[in-house]
Symmetry: C2
Amino acid sequence: MTDPATAKGRRARGPSPAKTAATRRALLDAALHTFLEYGFADTRMSDVAKRAGLAKGTIYRHFDDKTALFGEVLRTIMAGAAAGSALPRPRAEEHTGDFLRRAVLPMLAQLQASGMIAVPRLVAAEGPRFPELAAVYRRVAIEPVLRIIRVYARRAERRGELRSEGLSQMPILLAAPVVVATLWNGLFASDGQLEVTAVFSAWIDLVFGNSTAR
Amino acid sequence: MTDPATAKGRRARGPSPAKTAATRRALLDAALHTFLEYGFADTRMSDVAKRAGLAKGTIYRHFDDKTALFGEVLRTIMAGAAAGSALPRPRAEEHTGDFLRRAVLPMLAQLQASGMIAVPRLVAAEGPRFPELAAVYRRVAIEPVLRIIRVYARRAERRGELRSEGLSQMPILLAAPVVVATLWNGLFASDGQLEVTAVFSAWIDLVFGNSTAR
DNA sequence: AACTAAAATGACCCGTTGGTCACTTTAGTC
DNA sequence: GACTAAAGTGACCAACGGGTCATTTTAGTT
């Protein structure tokens, strides 16, 4: 587009673009954690700035307003999640229940460790006030997951591993227990946390049969 | 305590207590619907008043502040729900899956028709900011439901209808699909609503087996 | 070292809204 | 119909917090 000389000359003075990007990242990270902890309404722009070690005004050099910041936070998260998703394939004769355990449990553990597992809860809580964002989240995060579930639901149905054909038509059933466990943990933070992996495992047992006593 | 004459004399002038109670009910009802639609933070006290056909100041003659109003709304809902819950019993040889369909589906349909099915979503969204309320909700609404689920999960396990013993240990698995469907409907209000009863029915099929082809 | 453009700052502004209270209206009692 | 206690009212207040912008700091260039 513009020739290199112009581009170089244009950026002749002032801090490097890398530094700018780093500031932006710091703000997004601080915002994510603050939003997760307090929700949108109870998040103070000044708190986000403080957490990032910056002044409130700085936020507005990178984002139009609070809503835009929230949107960028979610967009960034989704982009990162999409990048880091690489599901293994089931082995030829592997029982689909075993495969799901093998594939999904480590992923859940990682999500839990990184704190990212709370994101769906944030979306569920704030989504109604940001319908466009909810729609993006659905398209970018939810639908792909449902599509994958549908693939393996079909496989399990083909192999006669399930008691009904319902799962491929309603793939959300497979994800529901994980979502609810996450909500639970957000609601009752202090007392009686649910181990998300244990919930999922019990769910697989119930639907596909316990692996030991199949 | 106080003798009747005193009590009567004390209330000798001014509007009747019945009228007061009606006002209170109108406010609670208006508040419930406004909270359900906008959430706690985006609910304006003036809007609640307007919806109830009263002035804002009137709210403060019945409730200490916004938080107290929210709490009373939830407490009232819970009391009402607890009162109106009468589950039938399974017939002697009835398959537990059939029984659950028979017992739960009408209840879900009724909850959906009355709009009360959105309450869990409200609690999930606002709960983290009101931990005591979340705890009350858990004790009054969630735990009783889980207890009932556990009873029928045990029955099903005893009768060999399930593929694992997990359900009685993790009764939340039964409720999860309904909760998630409700969240979904709140998030994507305009497009692709889920029929909660259909979701529950598919769940039963998957876990207990389809009633036609058992 | 001087220069300067971009980045960062934070005191300030101002709209919004929860909550107050002096006043008005309502409805039982005598 | 006069009396009065409770219910209801809505203009008003104060605080809070999102967003602005004149000023200062930073760092690449010459």
